[in-house]
Assembly symmetry: C2
Amino acid sequence: MLVIKVGGGEGINYDYICEDIAGIIKRGVKIVLVHGGSHEANVLSEKLGKPPRFVTSVSGYESRYTDRETLEIFAMVYSGKVNKFIVEKFQKLGINAVGLSGIDGRLLEGQKKSTLKIIEGGKKKVLRGDNTGKVEKVNIDLLMLLINNGYLPVISPLCSSYEGEAINVDGDRAAALLAVKLNADKLIILSNVPGLLKNVEDESSLIKHIDRSKVSEFMEFAKRRMKKKIMGTAEAVEGGVKEVIFADARIKNPVTNALNAKGTVIN
Amino acid sequence: MLVIKVGGGEGINYDYICEDIAGIIKRGVKIVLVHGGSHEANVLSEKLGKPPRFVTSVSGYESRYTDRETLEIFAMVYSGKVNKFIVEKFQKLGINAVGLSGIDGRLLEGQKKSTLKIIEGGKKKVLRGDNTGKVEKVNIDLLMLLINNGYLPVISPLCSSYEGEAINVDGDRAAALLAVKLNADKLIILSNVPGLLKNVEDESSLIKHIDRSKVSEFMEFAKRRMKKKIMGTAEAVEGGVKEVIFADARIKNPVTNALNAKGTVIN
């Protein structure tokens, strides 16, 4: 079993990803795909006159402030446009994909956090009305029901709170928990960079290997969204996932490349 | 088994619908819900500067011209916002809903029609680039897999062409085919009117009963979107569904009302 997370940044080539995954599935490998949609969400937010608001938590992580209107945009882009058009690509390739969000069948469940403690302009602030959280539970039964009946689950990272409310969660950490709960052999995290870079300005500064016991030491190289990927990686290896690979989602055969160690391998 | 279709017109109260359905499910009735989203799709289309284009076919039926951009808006609203927030309402009510579009698992499959023959300004025209079609096949296995494992399927009427492309289909006729294929006892069609009216301007002119052998005779009373409901009804009764009920989705207990014959009963 492979859990693959594909980011939603600019430049990511979903045709390459779906073609590669289709080939791997046809060789008998079971896969769960989790996707992003951040770039598309930003584009729609701007068009609707509701520009995205990214905030930095007091512990230094960046996240999208998600009021109810933003959550709606998020649902439209991630669970509507991106999810259904990934499913469409797979259907055209003869793979029977089923697109789900985390709220469907409470596939992803966790605690809602309606208050964010952030740093803005050097000052600590409390931001209310947030609809975010962290995935803590996975409905493995529903996933296995689909996988064992020949379906490819394609998951958008909306999540259900324990009270059944839709909340926005980080897709990388959701994928990490899925990999743990599914006892996946590998977690592959694809984005619009070749992997973890020592210097974000220089794609040749790729860190090729990280020892599984030293993941958190590499947080110093992680900028912006990469921080959550490192955090997810730490959670995945701690949970027993044998290997996590960061690889480039802009080029042909992105998953095969990752499996061939072209990227940052954490094991 | 009940198949319920809820329209997407203005004034429809999804809280009332979900509460009523939750109560009925808790009494042991199996349900499949199909929903619309036309009003929300129109609102988003306008906001995005891509106003909806409704066309009238040479045979007199109104439909939404669906170029690829419109299909994307349709996917965002129907499969993203409306579908996920119906699922959320059910999750809050303790019903484990799973939202799917017709392209997921090829739940709904049919022939794509890329050319529309329309009447515009009194003239016949051919309109190309359309992404619509008619549902001809249903993936009953996937539906029963979910239902038999305690999930409530909530379906948005995107459909898969035989080639795997996403297409827009009429939700009423999709629900009718689902009712036929699921051997449903009843098909309930809820919208923002009390049922089929003799005079669309007068809600007290409700037609209370239609004999199943005479459905097509009542097409004369159907205006605009009601035409597809009559067409779906004809298809459902022809396919063996024992009863179709049109009822009001704006008021409390809309499904219970329908089951109590408050609306137009076709049997």
